[in-house]
């Protein structure tokens, strides 16, 4: 079993509780307009555009036609991902769960856990399960960061080795969700309920882009919808301000919401009984 890994961040302070290693899988099934790492969206089709453009010669086409990446030559100028016509990256690595876990294990005992994100990591539930089983042998906490479009209830054995899910609700109204992502949110909301009922919902995230959808009514409806589940187990809400960094040029024109506006949204959530609200 193998998966395409976009990158491994050894110490992350923003991907769940405490210090964790974050693994980013390549490939996504939806199209968030504000996606800030669009190079994780598609798998590489070996077109070779990046090979020509790399100023350091860190990319080369092998005799089998595959693109070879030489990390030691890379200066992180990101030219390859900017010129990619396919929302992908040549700087990925194909790994087995064991190979991937080796890159996580190095950080023990400095980390408390492992978070897998993407792309959309739930496109590879088999890989996640195998990886988390390894992590559990060392007592690591395991988290999934997901856009919620893949039904979690179909993977109970994965959830057995998963401590929590950080779930995006990118818009509460279906038509808004379609506008933001090109996909419906019926499964997302069902996932929220399923995870909350099974005490696996650690955090719900919303990216706040007032120009793109009615964020205030979306947050209000979301609060209303989720509040009953706080009784089962507390979970936190993260409000993420849209920022143009990394966003594809055609979508980089949205307004960044003000801190005051974000706090207004947090107040709405507080009124519904949410205690832990993080604004970033």
């Amino acid at each position: 079993m193998q998966a395409v890994v976009n990158k491994v961040i050894p110490f992350s302070s923003v991907d769940g509780p405490g210090n964790r290693t974050a693994v980013f899988l390549q490939g996504c099934n939806i199209n968030c307009k504000y996606c800030h790492n669009p190079e994780t969206r598609a798998l590489c089709i070996e077109c070779g555009v990046c090979v020509e453009r790399c100023p350091e010669g860190a990319l080369e086409r092998g005799s089998d036609g595959k693109i070879i990446f030489h990390p030691e030559k890379c200066i992180q100028c990101d030219t390859c991902i900017h010129v990619c016509p396919n929302n992908s990256s040549p700087r990925t690595a194909v790994m087995t769960p064991e190979e991937c876990y080796k890159k996580v294990k190095k950080q023990i005992p400095f980390i408390r856990g492992l978070t897998v994100s993407g792309g959309e990591c739930m496109l590879r539930p088999d890989f996640l399960e195998a990886l988390f089983k390894l992590a559990k042998q060392d007592g690591l906490n395991t988290m999934i960061d997901s856009n919620g479009t893949i039904p979690f209830w179909e993977y109970p054995s994965l959830l057995e080795v998963t401590d929590g899910v950080m779930l995006d609700i990118k818009a509460f109204k279906n038509e808004d969700h379609v506008r933001v992502t090109d996909e419906k949110n019926e499964i997302v909301l069902k996932n929220a309920v399923y995870l909350a009922e099974n005490k696996k919902l650690y955090e719900v995230r919303a990216v706040i882009v007032p120009d793109l959808y009615d964020t205030k009514s979306s947050i209000t409806q979301m609060a209303q919808f989720l509040a009953p589940y706080l009784e089962i187990q507390e979970f936190r809400i993260k409000l993420i301000a849209y920022r143009p960094m990394g966003v594809r040029e055609e979508y980089a024109h949205y307004q960044v919401p003000s801190q005051n506006y974000l706090e207004e949204l947090a107040d709405i959530l507080k009124a519904y009984g949410f205690k832990e609200i993080i604004i970033i």
């Binding site: 050894p10 110490f11 302070s13 923003v14 509780p17 405490g18 210090n19 190095k106 950080q107 023990i108 005992p109 400095f110 980390i111 408390r112 993080i278 970033i280």
Partner: protein, 514 residues
């Protein structure tokens, strides 16, 4: 006393006059500098042969540095009074009875601080403040206690004018401990330097997280590996000055340092360094320290006459001395270059291995050198990774990885450090500026501390990359105060002056943000 030349006397007189006329020194700073200059005219120590050409030369050749301790040491460099005894019994010399409430406790401490000598003339140790104040916390209403603690800390910052003054808290949570952290977080002051003694399983997470939160606002406290220190120095240890592990009721007679990079310059190759140059310089430095200690103990009269000793707040037998070093990174890099080998300290395994080999030689030397007056540490000195001084140029502190060459990932940085911290019971430490996003996740820092202490790291400091108070090398300074000094105004604390030079010479603002 040996004769000296009139030329040297006149040169010193000029320097004293210059000090008197200085526009940027405060009165206290002038008095301290002038007395240091006068002291430099004394020649009473029986110096080892060969010392002069290792000590009294420019910084690019100097192999031994005595950190300007002076020519006739009249007191130990670092004094660690037994404040608990003082709180219990008061002091006859200071005419103070034991305190009965928080007002008296704080007042007594503030008085005592003015009578603790040190190399800087300010106390380098202010006590285990949470334990000292906790018995009195409930003698006044809570709001008043908070206000008194805040005033106490402001008083210390404005009168103990040197950020080598160090207080400790922990390992267990106390009301006083929380109040001290809350006040420091709000005040954002450079003095006192502060350590939290931390041990996983003993220190409450909530207390440790309050310390992280405080550190992200005021660059303190730092975290000291309680388990490691108490194993080496017993429960009666303290963290004083920069990060120096010493015994309560004792201290350190002296601290000299090997400038390893310059010793490497004398060597032909690695073998010559290990077998000849390093042992030669270590031997001279150890004998120089022996002589300084002999004068302090046998001739200065300090231990017979100072009230601290007379009343039992310190005991001569609890003193040791610190055998310091700087520039392990410089040394390794120079030696590899001499051998025509590639690799840099911090980045390459074989370079780090060479660093460990050198540390083992120094450790072995120290274990074989005996001093009759260091009984408390089995008649040996304690190794100390010195943090550098303001006029160091191209000298990397202790065993640190040079600023600008830190590994890309913090994990790799920490794994290198974990090979070196264990050598230094009398102190070493590393410093990490932390990205502001961590304010939302203080557990991130605590997880790193926990992992580090499992991996034999000894002492870690963090500050927020946007903080006004920053950790310079081992001490703290405020960027805003440095700017005032650069603009030509006198500033309250002497360490701001050191910080101004260190910012430039040691590239402090370029430290890698984590």
């Amino acid at each position: 006393m040996r004769e000296i030349s009139m030329e040297r006397v006149n040169k010193t007189r000029e320097a004293i006059l210059e000090t008197i006329k200085s526009p940027t020194l405060t009165h206290e700073q002038k008095v301290c500098a002038a007395s240091g200059l006068a002291d430099s005219l004394l020649e009473v120590l029986d110096l080892p042969e060969g010392l002069d050409e290792l000590l009294n030369v420019p910084i690019d050749r100097k192999c031994i540095c005595d950190l300007n301790e002076g020519h006739a040491p009249m007191r130990p460099r670092y004094i660690i009074p037994d404040y608990e005894k003082f709180m219990r019994e008061g002091s006859e010399f200071l005419q103070l009875a034991p305190p009965t409430d928080l007002y008296e406790a704080i007042n007594n401490l503030l008085i005592f601080y003015k009578h603790v000598p040190s190399i800087t003339n300010f106390p380098v140790y202010l006590g285990q403040l949470d334990e000292l104040l906790e018995p009195f916390i409930d003698t006044v209403p809570e709001e008043q206690a908070k206000k008194l603690i805040k005033m106490f800390l402001i008083h210390v910052d404005r009168t103990v004018l040197d950020s080598f003054s160090h207080a400790d808290i922990g390992p267990k949570a106390t009301k006083a401990g929380y109040m001290l952290l809350e006040a420091e977080k709000e005040l954002e002051q450079a003095v006192p330097n502060l350590s939290m003694k931390y041990e996983e399983g003993l220190t409450e997470d909530e207390f440790a997280l309050a310390a992280v939160d405080c550190a992200l606002h005021s660059a303190k406290p730092s975290f000291a590996n309680h388990k490691m220190f108490k194993k080496e120095l017993t429960e009666d240890y303290v963290i004083a000055s920069c990060y120096n592990g010493l015994r309560v009721g004792g201290g350190s007679y002296t601290l000299s340092r090997l400038i390893l990079g310059n010793i490497a310059k004398r060597a032909e190759n690695i073998q010559d360094f290990k077998e000849n140059q390093l042992p030669y310089v270590m031997d001279i430095m150890a004998r120089y320290m022996d002589e300084r200690i002999r004068f302090e103990v046998e001739e200065s009269g300090f231990f017979e006459n100072n009230f601290l000793a007379k009343e039992g707040f310190i005991h001569r037998e609890k003193f040791t001395a610190m055998f310091g070093l700087v520039g392990l990174a410089d040394c390794v890099n120079i030696l590899l270059e001499k051998e025509g080998k590639s690799g840099r300290f911090g980045a390459d395994v074989h370079a780090n291995d060479l660093g460990v080999e050198i540390m083992d030689i120094i450790d072995e030397f120290n274990k074989n050198h005996k001093n009759p007056y260091c009984e408390i540490t089995d008649n040996h000195f304690l190794l100390h990774a010195q943090v550098g001084i303001s006029d160091d140029i191209d000298v990397t502190p202790g065993t640190r990885i040079p600023i600008g060459e830190e590994p890309e990932e913090l994990i790799d940085h920490l794994l290198v450090l974990s090979r070196f911290h264990k050598y230094f019971p009398s102190g070493t430490g590393d410093i990490f500026p932390i990205d502001v996003t961590v304010h939302k996740n203080p557990e991130f820092v605590l997880d790193i501390v926990k992992g580090s202490f499992v991996k034999d790291l000894r002492y870690l400091s963090f500050y927020s990359s946007d903080s006004d108070v920053v950790r310079v090398t081992g001490y703290l300074a405020k960027k805003s105060e440095i700017e005032k000094l650069l603009a030509g105004s006198a500033v309250l604390q002497d360490t701001t002056m050191l910080a101004k030079d260190a910012f430039k010479n040691a590239h402090i603002p370029d430290r890698k943000v984590r």
